[in-house]
Every structure is written in C-alpha cells, then in structure tokens.
Symmetry: C2
C-alpha cells in the first residue's frame, strides 16, 4: 500500500500543492504559471501533468484538499458541545486553521466571490460543505432555544464564515504584529452580538 512508489508520488503531489497555494495566494490563479509551480516545487513541468490532468484540475483538487481539512477541523471542534460553546469553538477552529494554512486562507478570500471561472462551481460546492457544519450548529441552537428563533440560519452561517476569513486575513496581511488573542476576542465578541440579534 504505502510502498516507495506511492509515497514518492504522494510527496510530489504534496509539494505541488504547497507551491501552488503559495503562488496563487500571492498572484492569483491566472497570473501563476505552471512553470512557476513546477520550479517552486522543485520538479519538472512534465511532472505536474503526470500528476494532474491540467492546471485547473490541480487547482480544483487543491481546493478540495484545503477545504476538506477545514471542514474536518470544524467537525472536530463542535463534536459534543452545546450550541453556544460550539459556535465559539468554530471561531477558534477557523482562526487556528487560518493561522496554520495562511496562504490557503488568503487564496480563499481572493477567489471565493468570483464569478465566471471554470472552477467556480467546485468552490461553491466546497464552501457549502464547510458552511453546512456551521449551519448545523446554528440550526441546533435555534431549535433548542439557545439562539434567537428569528435567526436566518443560512445567512448567519455564511456571514460567520466570511467575517472570520476577512478579519483573520486582514490581520495576517496588515497587522501581523498584533497578537492573535486580540483578533480572537474581537471575533468572539462579534459572534456573540450577532447571535443575539
């Protein structure tokens, strides 16, 4: 199963992911060339096409991989917690994820609200999966009375997701010196306020 071949190949794909995510976060998908990605990953261009069908597919698989990790973090964070605590745990999980995968978060923020791109459908779907975890928590809170009954679940969930993203990335890009605890506190405050509207 994990013989030398598969491990080697998995390693190559991982290096390509890392190279691609960094370059695309900095420059965007279109401005990033396959040659750049190959060079940064330390492989030949042909290797990119041996491992991925096309530049677009590479990016789609990258999105799937990255958001998959985020969704898993979300699920782990809320497991077994009552609604209000689960909501706070989600905020902490999102921030922790963004700190760990800074470049991916930056990339998401830049590409999330685009329209008319080939991979846009994929991204929408994946965004939906991540937000669904938040939505389940919000829904449970509304049902149990822990959260206000008139809260629009879908809107609140996507707003929560987006606000976390923008505040954290803004912090990473423009205020990297500020301690993360402040950011987390500000975000938790925001969430608490929205949950009472």
């Amino acid at each position: 199963m994990t013989d030398g071949r598969t491990r080697r190949r998995e390693d190559t794909r991982q290096r390509l992911f890392v190279a691609a995510v960094e370059l695309i976060a900095e420059q965007g998908f279109s401005a990033t060339t396959v040659d750049d990605i190959a060079a940064r990953a330390g492989v030949a261009k042909g290797t990119v096409y041996y491992n991925f069908e096309s530049k677009t597919v590479l990016f789609e698989e990258l999105l799937r991989h990255g958001i998959g990790l985020l969704t898993a973090d979300f699920r782990a964070a809320v497991a077994g917690l009552p609604p209000r605590e689960a909501l706070a745990a989600l905020v902490r999980a999102e921030l922790g994820y963004i700190r760990r995968y800074r470049a991916f978060a930056q990339l998401l923020l830049s590409e999330m609200w685009r329209t008319n791109r080939e991979w846009q459908q994929t991204l929408r779907l994946l965004r939906g999966e991540a937000i669904e975890v938040i939505a389940e928590t919000v829904r449970a809170g509304v049902a149990s009375g822990d959260l206000p009954a008139d809260l629009d679940v879908r809107t609140a969930s996507s707003a929560l997701f987006g606000v976390g993203l923008v505040v954290a990335v803004d912090w990473l890009v423009f205020q990297p010196d500020r301690p993360i605890e402040d950011v987390q506190e500000a975000l938790l405050g925001i969430v608490r306020r929205v949950a009472q509207t």
Copy 2:
C-alpha cells in the same frame, strides 16, 4: 475646459472603466484581456492605448477613481456628525456605495489582500486613504469618550472596512434576494458591539 472634445474623451474613459471593472470583477486582472475590455466598451483596441498608457495603468487609474468616490462618500457621510452617529453613517455609506458600484466592490474584495502584484502598492495607498476617514472618526470618538479608550484605532478602522466589504459582497453574490435593510442592521449591530470592546 469642458468642451466637446474633453467631454467625449471623458466619456470614452468612463466606458472603458465600466467595461474593465465588470470584467475584472468576474475574472480577475490577469484573465481579462485588453481586447475583451475594448470589445465590451464598444471601442477599438487602439483607443484603449490612446487613453491609457498600459493595461496596468488603466487598472491603477480605475482603482484611484473608484476608491476616490468611496472616500468622498465617507467624507460626506460623517460631515458634522458626533462620533457614534458618524460611525453608523459610515456603515450606511459603505453599503450604499457597494450597492451602487457592485462590481467595483467585488473587485476590491478579490484584489485587496493580494501581495506581489505591480499595482499592489497603489491599492494599499488608496485603501489607507479610505480607512483614514474611518480612523479620524474613531479617533475623535476615543478622544471625546464616546468610544472606549483602549480601542486600537488602526485595527478597528481596517476591520470595520473589511467586514463591511465581505458581508455586503457575500450578500450580493450569495443572497441577492435578502433585503438590504437586514444586512445593514446586522452590520450596525456588529459595529456597535466592536465599539464597546
């Protein structure tokens, strides 16, 4: 000054701005070709280069123009108001602007947190100008005691700017059916909460 020639030229530039902003909001700067922009504006390619030095300069002037309007709206909104009301007025102004110049807002959201692009310096500068208006209001509020003294002016101002942008664009892209008053209410609630931290 505003003779026929200048007005005609100004009109051409305006049409090019509109075409460029829509295409770049949808696809990004790199994926948008000068031929596309000219075609959408209903103008020959040569006209683009008669009116602008290069594709990059066109984009930079577009950014200057768009953020200039936003900054002017901000200044008009806060004129003569006490800090807390001024803050609410800023939120309303930002939302109104985003509704009017939807594509530009989408473009800003996508390009704001990029690094390593030629025009990135320009964008940072302009972002600073817009945020400075917010910062003046926040600073005045802190000085007069209307806002908490321990509020970090720079951070609060940029967070306010970013949150408004992401919530509004998310609304435009994913929930266009939802009434804008809801969005405005949610935002005002958020701002009130942050102002008390």
